[in-house]
């Protein structure tokens, strides 16, 4: 039962030197109650993808092509007013990275929850809304009286819980969680993730979990989409991505994060920086950093290939899976490669483009 169906989405930013293709021809569908992880480095476009869903884009960004079908409604065609009334928060809410900054500091948390409830539900009295906020707090393990506290009076973990309360106040069908735990320390991280999972299951909400942390997604998500250079380079169920990925970038990401099952694992990071997304041209976008790049990779943009059971990969060499997996496990593979194109190594560093994450 598909809740959200994104098809061929292109969200571009205007820059001085052209269009920044932050999300470039992306398709993704999510079922009700499902949790999908979007994994990638900073600047890969994962946040832009998520925000495109509720069109929460800055003035210089534009959805230039593609469709976003949410539960039968085409989001890209809604007026601003319909979007605010029908989609935002009532259907799709979000949890920001740092909950402390997600609340307006000059109002109490309760006031802010009450405001959003009453904005979307015309008949609800202030008192009822407040009661709901209190019971949400209770369910999330916060003392209900703390609805009258200001955001700065909460600790980090508590603030994140309060944020979850805010996000779930209207029982949305989809929650966009943007690195919801990175600002917290590890012990609290786990507890918060558990809380999110519990609440999500209770409400049967779907969730998109945006993170650069493989370990977080592996614990919480049903499926994982790996985002690189504005595209989903690999998507599959969590098990497959963790154990049997086919894209070299996924392999690299996996190396960069501790595997819970392997204590002796040596962490290897991917050298180089994410690609410039201004008019990137032909060729695989990962090629400059890919230890396995061949001539073909530089010249032709790979198409998504299906490897069964919802596993899709955009890589010319995805077929050589065994070889790749073996080589990718070695540190030298990554450290001893020549970055850039073999014949004319790119001399100028790609300009760092500031996206919205």
């Amino acid at each position: 039962m598909t809740l959200l169906d994104i098809n061929g989405l292109k969200t571009y930013y205007r820059a001085d030197n052209g269009w920044v293709r932050a999300t470039d021809d992306v398709s993704l569908s999510i079922d009700r109650g499902e949790t999908v992880g979007l994994v990638g480095e900073s600047g890969s476009g994962k946040t832009t993808l998520a925000k495109s869903i509720i069109r929460l884009l800055s003035d210089n960004a534009e959805i230039v092509d593609g469709s976003i079908n949410f539960d039968g409604t085409e989001v890209t065609e809604l007026s601003d007013k319909e979007l605010r009334k029908q989609i935002r928060w009532s259907e799709i809410s979000m949890i920001p990275q740092n909950a402390m900054n997600g609340f307006d500091p000059v109002y109490t948390v309760g006031q802010q929850i009450v405001q959003v409830i009453r904005h979307h539900e015309d008949g609800t009295s202030k008192k009822e809304a407040r009661e709901r906020a209190r019971s949400l707090f209770d369910e999330l393990g916060i003392e209900p009286d703390r609805v009258d506290d200001y955001p700065h009076q909460f600790s980090g973990g508590m603030a994140q819980r309060a944020m979850i309360a805010l996000a779930l106040a209207l029982s949305p069908s989809l929650v966009l969680a943007d690195e919801p735990t990175t600002a917290l320390d590890v012990v609290i991280q786990d507890r918060i993730l558990d809380t999110i999972k519990e609440m999500q299951e209770e409400l049967n909400s779907a969730m998109i979990m945006i993170t650069h942390d493989m370990s977080v997604v592996s614990e919480t998500c049903d499926r994982i989409a790996v985002v690189y250079g504005g595209r989903i380079v690999e998507i599959a169920d969590t098990e497959t991505i963790i154990t049997n990925p086919r894209h070299p970038y996924t392999l690299g990401l996996r190396n960069a994060f501790p595997d819970i099952n392997d204590d002796d694992q040596e962490l290897i990071s991917i050298p180089g920086t994410p690609p410039e997304l201004v008019d990137p041209g032909e060729g695989c976008r990962f090629a400059p950093r890919c230890p396995f790049a061949e001539q073909e990779c530089w010249e032709e943009t790979p198409e998504a290939e299906s490897y069964g059971d919802g596993h899709a990969v955009e890589c010319h060499r995805a077929d050589e899976i065994d070889h790749l997996q073996e080589e990718a496990g070695k540190k030298e593979t990554w450290t001893e490669q020549d970055l850039g194109r073999p014949e004319d190594s790119q001399s100028d560093q790609p300009e760092e483009v500031m996206l919205d994450d």
């Binding site: 800055s58 500031m354 996206l355 919205d356």
Partner: protein
């Protein structure tokens, strides 16, 4: 969207050649139309001010002619209240003086007041802020109470009293302006220094046993200097308006005709309604001058700190 900001570091090491320094500073005007316009206007005024009146170099027996076609104080170079003509491009005053010459000569007064007052005010303000924040404790208490008191003093009434005591001369007017104007710089610099005091570079300087004076002036000061420049720009604008207002009330220096005094003269001559050529040029010049400084200030402000909160 996160904007990367160069974090202020110990800038003492970045001493380049002076010329290079200036060039690097001028770069901030690139692509900033308003800033460029401001710089252009200001430079024109400075040139006009410098060459307003003739110079005589005695030992060379040489006279460099001034821009002003007439002596601004000379009566009856034209008829009474003549409208603009070839001979008097901006007409004449009720005493037959040449308005254009007065306007040109007034530029110099504006420049003198603006630059001297701003320089002294910012000099005092920066030092007070620096000392207050650096030493803290009772020094801070005393200096900040003084600043509070000065904040309680309304400028014009104060200047009027001071001029009544000391007499209306340009020097006394500058003194009055400076005595009030330093306060805002002091507060802002103090706040800035307070944040710098915590930075590692100050601690390391203290660790190697640098003297207070050295830490304050060699280490901290260079870091707050951009802010000082910004406040100097605001101070120039403020000082010029203050002088004009004081002159308009009739407390200007009778021997130095400023733009404000020109308007005062039109006003007391009751000629505002007929002599537009006499009242508009000085008014517009004041606006243009102050505006140019603000435009430059805006450019500096972007450079100093995009988040800066100022008055």
């Amino acid at each position: 969207m996160s904007t990367e900001r160069t974090s202020p570091t110990d800038r003492t090491e970045t001493d380049g050649g002076t010329l290079e320094f200036i060039r690097s500073k001028l770069e901030i005007f690139e692509g900033d139309r308003l800033g460029q316009i401001g710089l252009g206007i200001l430079c024109s005024f400075i040139l006009i001010g410098i060459f307003a009146r003739p110079y005589t170099i005695d030992f060379l027996n040489l006279t460099i002619p001034g821009l002003a076609p007439h002596d601004p104080a000379e009566r009856a170079v034209g008829g009474r209240l003549e409208s603009p003509s070839g001979a008097h491009p901006l007409g004449t005053t009720h005493m037959g003086r040449d308005v254009l010459s007065q306007l040109i000569a007034g530029t110099r007064v504006t420049l003198i007041v603006g630059s001297l007052a701003a320089f002294m005010a910012v000099f005092i303000g920066t030092n007070v802020g620096l000392i207050s924040a650096y030493f803290g404790g009772w020094v801070d208490d005393v200096l900040m109470r003084i600043t509070d008191i000065v904040y309680g003093v309304p400028f014009l009434p104060f200047a009027i009293v001071l001029v009544a005591i000391l007499g209306s001369s340009i020097v006394n007017i500058i003194v009055a302006i400076v005595l009030i104007l330093w306060r805002s710089t002091a507060r802002v610099i103090r706040a800035q220094v307070l944040s710098h005091k915590q930075r590692p570079y100050v601690e390391s300087a203290q660790a190697i046993g640098a003297s207070h004076t050295r830490i304050m002036y060699r280490h901290i000061l260079p870091n707050v200097l951009p802010l000082t420049f910004l406040y100097a720009a605001f101070a120039v604008a403020w000082a010029v308006i203050a002088e004009a207002s004081l002159s308009f009330l009739g407390f200007g220096d009778p021997n130095m005709l400023s733009w404000g005094e020109m308007i005062y003269n039109v006003y007391t001559a009751n000629a505002i309604r007929e002599a537009w050529w006499w009242v508009f040029p000085p008014g517009i010049c004041i606006m243009l001058f102050v505006m140019s400084v603000f435009f430059i200030g805006r450019t500096l402000e972007k450079e100093v700190n995009p988040e800066l909160q100022h008055q």
